[in-house]
């Protein structure tokens, strides 16, 4: 941003031009002064005309330019490194990770204790940074009103009862700056980034490895096992493993009901337990915390592998026939299209089926498919995750809505090519649960410790990201913008100068500011 001086000089250029033109083009009248001697004026106009007499309008213009330059240069804003002006604010992180650990030593407990006991934080305006299930966005909740009448250790319990502890967007702290708060202090457990522009008091992530917590768990994968015809949910667990319970969603509107142990199995895996389900559905896996620790509840949507699909073109028809879990349908979820067919346009519409398009090239290209897509095999073919012109995938799903294959003779001759199509079809399938939402995407409902995102008729499980259960690695920087310059002050200055100009104009011309007719 240019300095105030540079901006002032830039803005002064038209003023100087007007002064020059005024001097060059002003008409000088010739008349005896006997009848024209200056009158002794009284009132506010006297000062103005005596002091600024000749070029009062240009002087006011120059003053306006100076004010605009100072305002644009952030005049009045604190310098770098200086303490920002404004009331201090204290923010309590209300993400899921604040509930981890033993009761009494959880980060939330420590934060509320600090809030109550730290004299230096008493003057600060307290807020809770919490996820709002109704609007599916993070918001700042004033704590004075929320905690009124609460004493001692009841504050944490009040927060647990009133707020939803999911993942939060720390960028929402910038709203405090916009509201005129100066110093911002965040009481949190641990942040996955460094901070600039505000102070973060990290109270420590309760890590089972260090003994601060007894347990942590998170579902690392959920998939259909074609070999056994069952669905597998793999958990990553740390610390003590307690008994887990499984509930199933009673269609169509719930709630969760306990699932008979005969309908699922528990196996030991390398990183945690593996749950095996015999049928698809919406399940709730609850892992109670030992010794009173907060448990972990995860809702999972295990979808049927059968996918309604349609095919257009000879090659896509053969692909459809090659996969038994693809069933031809008039209302497909997946469209297999040979490039150039008319079905591509229909599939490209938002809300339409997912698309896998294929173009057969006469010659081989120089690309190979990603091993992740091809099951580790080498397949010489081109692929684009999002073909141009197709509706983008929703952020929460993270899935590609369309994928385009370009197959040359070598790719067609490769017997591993179906693996690529299998990977592309599965990669586009719905994930078992969402770990983030977009504001306004739907309404979030609590269901026995877990959360469900209701959007229209669909119900999708929602869980906090892994960083709320396991200590995150620190990467990147969260930088809060500096406090905005005092707009009110500059607005008042500009308003006063403009009013002075109008007043001077009125005094000099004798005209009314608002002409009638």
């Amino acid at each position: 941003m240019p300095s105030a001086l540079a901006t002032f000089l830039l803005l002064l250029a038209p003023v100087a031009a007007m002064l020059f033109l005024n001097l060059r083009l002003s008409r000088r009248l010739s008349y005896p002064h006997e009848l024209l001697e200056e009158e002794r004026r009284r009132g506010p106009a006297a000062f103005l005309f005596r002091a600024l007499r000749a070029y009062w309008d240009l002087v006011l213009d120059a003053a306006l330019a100076l004010a605009v330059a100072l305002a644009l240069a952030g005049g009045g804003a604190p310098r770098d490194g200086a303490e920002p002006r404004g009331r201090p604010a204290l923010v309590v992180d209300c993400s899921r990770s604040m509930l981890a650990g033993r009761p009494g030593s959880r980060p939330l407990d420590l934060a509320m204790r600090r809030l109550a006991e730290d004299e230096s934080l008493r003057k600060a305006e307290p807020f809770a940074l919490a996820f709002d299930p109704r609007t599916a966005r993070t918001r700042l909740v004033p704590l004075r009103r929320l905690l009124s009448g609460v004493e001692g250790g009841g504050a944490a319990a009040r927060l647990e009862g009133e707020l939803a502890f999911l993942a939060v967007d720390y960028g929402e702290l910038a709203a405090l700056r916009r509201r005129g708060f100066g110093r911002i202090t965040l009481l949190t457990d641990a942040l996955p980034f460094r901070t600039e522009g505000f102070e973060a008091v990290e109270l420590g992530f309760p890590d089972p490895a260090s003994g601060e917590s007894e347990f942590a768990a998170y579902p690392s994968s959920a998939r259909h096992d074609r070999a056994s015809g069952s669905w597998l949910v793999a958990l990553v667990e740390a610390g003590r493993r307690g008994d887990l319970s499984v509930k199933a969603w009673r269609a169509p509107s719930g709630p969760f009901e306990r699932l008979a142990p005969s309908r699922y199995g528990v196996e030991e895996g390398p990183a945690g337990r593996i749950l095996r389900f015999s049928s698809p559905g919406l399940y709730l896996v609850s892992l109670p915390g030992p010794y009173g620790e907060a448990g972990a509840d995860f809702a999972l949507e295990l979808a049927s592998p059968a996918t309604a699909a349609s095919a257009e073109g000879p090659f896509s028809s053969r692909v459809l026939a090659a996969f038994p879990y693809l069933a031809a349908s008039e209302k497909p979820e997946l469209a297999l299209v040979d490039e150039g067919g008319k079905g591509a346009g229909a599939a490209a519409r938002a809300g339409g089926p997912r698309l896998v398009s294929t173009r057969l090239a006469p010659e081989d290209g120089r690309l190979v498919l990603s091993p992740a897509l091809a099951g580790g095999r080498l397949i010489a073919a081109g692929a684009e995750p999002e073909a141009p012109g197709f509706a983008p995938a929703p952020a929460s799903g993270g899935r590609a809505r369309a994928r385009r294959f370009v197959l040359g003779p070598a790719a067609l001759a490769n017997e591993d090519l179906p693996l690529a199509y299998d990977g592309a079809i599965l990669a586009g399938a719905e994930p078992p649960f969402l770990d983030s939402t977009r504001p306004g995407e739907g309404r979030i409902e609590a269901a026995m410790g877990a959360y469900l995102l209701r959007s229209g008729d669909s119900l999708r499980p929602l869980a906090p990201p892994p960083s709320e259960y396991f200590a995150p690695a620190r990467d990147g920087v969260l930088r809060l913008p500096p406090p905005p310059p005092p707009r009110l002050l500059w607005s008042a200055v500009l308003g006063l100068l403009s009013a002075a100009k109008l007043l001077a104009w009125r005094k000099s011309t004798g005209k009314r500011l608002l002409a009638r007719g």
């Binding site: 002003s26 008409r27 000088r28 009248l29 010739s30 008349y31 005896p32 002064h33 006997e34 009848l35 024209l36 001697e37 200056e38 009158e39 004026r41 106009a45 005309f49 007499r53 000749a54 009062w56 005094k507 000099s508 011309t509 004798g510 005209k511």
Partner: protein, 297 residues
Amino acid sequence: MSDGEAARSGQPRDAARGLVDPEAAALVRAFGRRTPRRPPLSAQASRDPMFRRAGSSFDLKNIREYQSTDDPRRIEWKLEGRTDRLFVKEYYDEERDGAAVLVDLSASLGVYGAAEAKRVGATIAWMLGALGVPTSLEAFAGRTLRRLSRQRGGKSTAPIASFFAGLEPEGRTDISAAVASARAASRYRRLVLVSDFFDRDWSPRSSPFARNCFVRLYRPFSDLRPGRAEVDVEDPETGRRLRLPWDAAAEAAYARREAELDAAFREAARRGAYYGILRPGEPRRTLYWSLLEALYA
């Protein structure tokens, strides 16, 4: 047309026609036909003393013994009673009393219009001469620029044309000096002063002449269209620049000063002086006629 023919016909000569107003000749002819027995209607209505009291003036010239050619009615019987000899009094002829015509040609007259100012002065001077009034024509600014004395008047425009030739507005106005100079240079008791009267040091009451006629050449400031903002006004006489906001207050102050100046002349008019105002481009016939009537009153 020669000067003589022009004089006989009462028409200004071609060379001077541009300097003397064309209606001046008709005005002179009409004024020459005017007699005490047949005064103009306006004079009758106003009971002008000129038309009630014709004859000689009261300015005593001489007392001498009666001669046979004298009118016996002029014998001074009181002197005869004291001396037993017949005497008559001789008075100066009133109609032969001239007038000093002063034309202001200071730089400020440029605002009114130099050509028009000279034309007004030339026309008045020519009309008086054409009516046989001895005139002393002076152009002045801070000093007397030029003087033309015509003891017997005359209808020729040539002297007036040559008088104003080459004269342009210049210098500062000093009416007091010009009037004093004119008074010293002639014994005329009548003064015709053509000026814009932008001279604070002079007052109409200070004139030493017995009979004063003031013709004010006035161009209002508003004629210059100063607009409604700051105005930069240069005084043509002093060169001083004045920048002032031309707003309602300034306009009111200007009007007040103008009213004060006008009131001073109207006060002089109430005391017997003549006061007429001419604006640029205005018809001047009425002013010329009223000026002649005032001079002959």
